[in-house]
Amino acid sequence: MAATDKLSARLRNEGEGDASGGTFAKGNVSHTARRADKDDATNTAADDSEDERVPRTLRDAPAKSDRALATAKMNGRRDKPNKSSKARAKSTDKEESKNKEKKRVPDKLEKEILARSEKYQRGLKLTSTGDDGKEPVAAIKVRSKKAQPKIEHEKRRREHAIIDAARSEMLLTEQAGYLEAEGEMERTYKVTQDQLADSLDINSRAKIFDLKLEEFGPYVMDYTSNGRHLLVGGRKGHLATMDWRSGRLGAEFHVRETIRDVCWLHNENLFAVAQKRYAYIYDHSGAEVHCLQKHVEPTALGFLPFHFLLASTGMTGRLMYQDVTEGRIIGEHKPGYGPNHVLKVNPYNAVVHMGHGNGIVTMWSPRQSQPLAKMLCHKGPVQAMAIDRSGTYMATSGLDGSLKIWDIRNFKSLHEYSTMRPAQSLDISQRGLLAAGWGANVTVWKDALVSKVDAPYMKRLLPSTTVSDLRFVPYDDVLGYGHSSGISSIVIPGAGEPNFDAFVANPFETTKQRQEAEVKQLLDKLAPETIQHDPTFIGRLDPRSRDERQLELLESRRDQYAKDKADGKYLDNEVKNKMKGRNSSAKRFARKRANNIMDLKKLNAIESAEKAKLENEAKRRKIPESEKGALGRFYDEKRATD
């Protein structure tokens, strides 16, 4: 099964729910009707119908899928429990009984493709052509007769593309890993890495290892986006990069300073390190490329690969964005919650999430000085955070001992787990496995984001260590973690995406390909303005007409004017239209605004400003010895004047 767990779960739901049964039925009605038409008209051979049948039904079905429409209403990507589905199910039940003769159950393949196709439905639906007219209409109404057929054509084309994309999944070669209990008594979390190693091939077995580095720990780590290179940084200044599968060491050196976080930039040629004073950028050979002095006492780093932005936060509590291609500071935000050490980048929309000491999580875009959103997540400081690649789920852990799962599309809490001690580090794998490191333990949950699960999927305990950082390896079933006495790598079956896209991240990349990819990445570098909660806002049409837009603009200007007037920006009509001739409204307006006109208000303001000035000066004067008294020798002259 190439379909992900989420999809298979959805498919199961569809089997049970009435609503989707109705969906299929509707799809079939029109299908059979159309086929009948075709038979009447051309009397085609029955042979070709078998091949045609599948896409045609599917073409109809997704357009009418009520779940998909609910999705379209929300954000066009994924579904959400639909309140009205039951009500609609009733109405469709009636139809079903009417069309009982015509009903045909879609075969397994159709169902599977249909289930898969949902994840390819990007963006809003153009129209919802519910034949019965009962479907909620998320359609764009077009008055133009000329545009109508174009839109219809586009809609059909899209539907084809969705189905084709879903069908193309059968071309994927790799299957995801798994670890499944067979008997009633078996538990997956009881499987140790040694037991696992016995039943793995030699290639995978080599991925289980512990590196003992007891001198400079605890360690933080990062993998490149293709999962091939590992960067480790010891708290006490040890830095090393390696091609971890082959064990080939890249650069290894000691910075003789505290290292708080490490982070790869766009490929394995450059990496950033959060050191005691500043953040630094080193190249693959370990040579220092830049010292980023604007990042003062950084504690956490994050890299936005499509925007080429390095984000950092630190003891100052600020969030800094620096463009690593041209070195400009793109944004500097002050959340104002004190020192900070939790920063994660949402891979779906490149929004930076920061966890604060008061339990708040804030979300940032580089060009907006206010956070996009604030969530109170914990009663104590936020300890760790992880965001899944679809941008749906966020996991946070706090010092209050809880581990919470959030839906960050609507900022709601979904489930809560607890660890024996507050989780120090969290990560979510590509296929949605959640890993938490607490004390000497690493615990991995499966399906923990979608639903509340009772038991973990896998566990590991490394005695007398403290886990400091853990990361899933992209495109591999491996979890690497740094702890107080080195780094470890363990196999977690089913963690990684089995089928990589070589144009996105290629674990088998050659030097030439890397160079080529770098050029392409730079060409496609996005402006920081593209970072928003919903990244699909780009290129979307403004449905308002020109008049409506102008009206809104006018109104906003009027409001602004009223506000300014209330703030005293414009003086009230002190200036009358006294002059004869050579007068115009524009000139009058200019005269009103001119600031060389003296009136009572202005005189008062000047008077009060002068008074304040005098007072300040009085404060600033030297304090005579007599006024200082017995503590005169402790008097700091400088401070007193301030």
Binding site: R77, K119, Y120, R122, A165, S168, T173, E174, Q175, A176, G177, Y178, L179, E180, E182, E186, V191, L196, S199, L200, D201, N203, S204, F306, P347, Y348, N349, A350, R389, S390, G391, Y475, D476, D477, V491, P493, G496, E497, N499, F500, D501, A502, F503, V504, N506, P507, F508, T510, Q513, L523, D524, K525, L526, A527, T530, P535, T536, I538, G539, L541
Partner: protein, 451 residues
């Protein structure tokens, strides 16, 4: 316990030898492609910028004529050759690939050469020319070869008319040709006198164009602002269309036989359906001076027009504005334009005695392309198409550096049109009769008469 962990063998994902192609598996799961909309937008913007960067439409200026180029004919049987006639009566045949004159007749006519056209069938290098000297002459590159340069070769045949000719066109498959002067004359190539005269109204005819698909229909336009369609089978006119200003040239659509485009004095190009001429099918407006010539591309989807405002414009027949404008510093009033028959180039002849060769798509490059290059171009085109409505992309795609004169004139013209429109609206507003608005496609049409 069922256990399986991902384990990719390097051999499967890397090439064995250097001659192998690299293995690049794809996965189109949207979750693997975050921010795809933003990235595609950025790519579209880059593609648009690259398109404008590579937009170098001008290829060559073919010089040789001493006076302006006023007539041009392309040869449907030979992509390479084109014949031009100039104001001093000279005829030249050009080879487009070598960009030089291959044949010339210095004193082919006394006065202006008003029209040239190729003769189909038999020897495909024969062509006809007419001039203001009341003569129509048949030439052949092989038969009327130049003895020594600078001496006018012998004609194959000469026909003498009664009036100064203004245009000529040959029948597609019969040995007939039509000339225009103050009347339309149909000539049989074997006779010295015209076999038929066609008239409707008494004024000078600007040009005559035979339909090459619906071969018995011909269209003419005259200084009395009329466009007249004739049928050769009945030797009688079909319909007469009168517009507000006169038409300078006509071109029949090679793919849709009933469609034709006209170059009008009122700065616009109109396309008409000959079956229903009470309104234009489309009005193409961008020129700021009279349009002197118009020609369809062989696909029938595009148009090229040359204007008195010293520019050449390229149009999509279904759109209202031009998709590109070509101009050159030394190019004067353009009197004739042609779309080459491979759909890749455009020719313009102008007052400055030069024939200019342009690319039909300014940023397109000829020559063999690798598969990767082609797919990259296709992808870029698709992206540009998709994001064409986004203001940033549109701005890049539509921006053209236009000569100051044209820019200024177009602004003035826009003001004029707007004020005219405003006035019309105001009149309408205060008019109780409630007359319906006249569509733009009907505005320039005074009337149609059918026979």
């Amino acid at each position: 316990m069922k256990i399986k962990a991902l384990s990719r063998s390097t051999a499967e994902y890397t090439r064995e030898t250097k001659s192998d192609i690299q293995k690049l598996p794809r996965n189109i799961d949207p979750e693997l492609h975050p921010l795809e909309r933003a990235r595609e937008y950025k790519r579209a913007l880059n593609a648009a910028k690259l398109e404008r960067m590579f937009a170098k439409p001008f290829l060559a200026s073919l010089s040789g004529h001493i006076d302006g180029v006023y007539a041009m004919a392309k040869n449907p049987w030979d992509l390479d050759s084109v014949v031009t006639g100039s104001g001093d009566g000279e005829l030249r045949m050009w080879s487009l690939s070598s960009q030089e004159t291959v044949w010339r007749a210095p004193e082919a006519h006394r006065g202006i050469v008003k029209g040239v056209c190729n003769i189909p069938g038999g020897e495909t290098d024969r062509f006809l020319s007419v001039g203001t000297d009341k003569l129509a002459k048949v030439w052949s590159r092989s038969e009327s070869a130049v003895a020594s340069d600078g001496i006018t070769p012998e004609t194959v045949a000469t026909y003498t008319g009664k009036h100064a000719f203004s245009g000529i066109d040959h029948h597609r498959n019969r040995p007939l040709f039509a000339t225009s002067s103050s009347l339309i004359e149909i000539w049989d190539v074997d006779r010295s006198e015209p076999i038929t005269n066609l008239t409707w109204g008494a004024d000078t005819i600007n040009t005559v164009k035979m339909n090459q698909t619906e071969v018995n229909v011909l269209a003419t336009c005259g200084t009395d602002r009329s466009i007249i369609l004739y049928d050769l089978r009945t030797n009688s006119p079909l319909a007469k269309l009168v517009m507000t200003l006169s038409t300078n040239a006509i071109s029949w659509n090679p793919m849709e036989a009933f469609m034709f485009a006209t170059a009008n004095e009122d700065h616009n190009v109109y396309t008409f359906d000959m079956r229903k001429m009470d309104h234009a099918v489309n009005v193409l407006r961008d020129h700021v001076s009279a349009v002197m010539d118009v020609d369809y591309s062989p696909t029938g989807q595009e148009l090229v027009s040359g204007s008195y405002d010293r520019s050449v414009r390229l149009w999509d027949v279904n759109k209202g504005h031009s998709r590109d404008i070509y101009h050159a510093k030394r190019m004067q009033r353009v009197f004739c334009v042609k779309y080459t028959l491979d759909n890749n180039y455009v020719l313009s002849g102008s007052d400055d005695s030069n024939l200019r060769l342009w690319r039909a798509r300014a940023s397109q490059r000829m020559g063999a392309k690798s598969n990767r290059e082609r797919s990259a171009i296709e992808y870029a085109d698709k992206l540009k198409d998709r994001f064409a409505y986004v203001p940033e992309v549109r701005k890049v795609l539509q921006h053209r550096n236009v000569p100051k004169g044209i820019k200024k004139a177009s602004r003035t013209k826009q003001d004029m049109l707007q004020s005219r429109k405003r006035k019309e609206e105001n009149v309408r507003k205060h008019d109780k009769s409630g007359k319906p608005r006249v569509p733009e496609r009907k505005k320039a049409i005074l009337g149609v008469t059918s026979k």
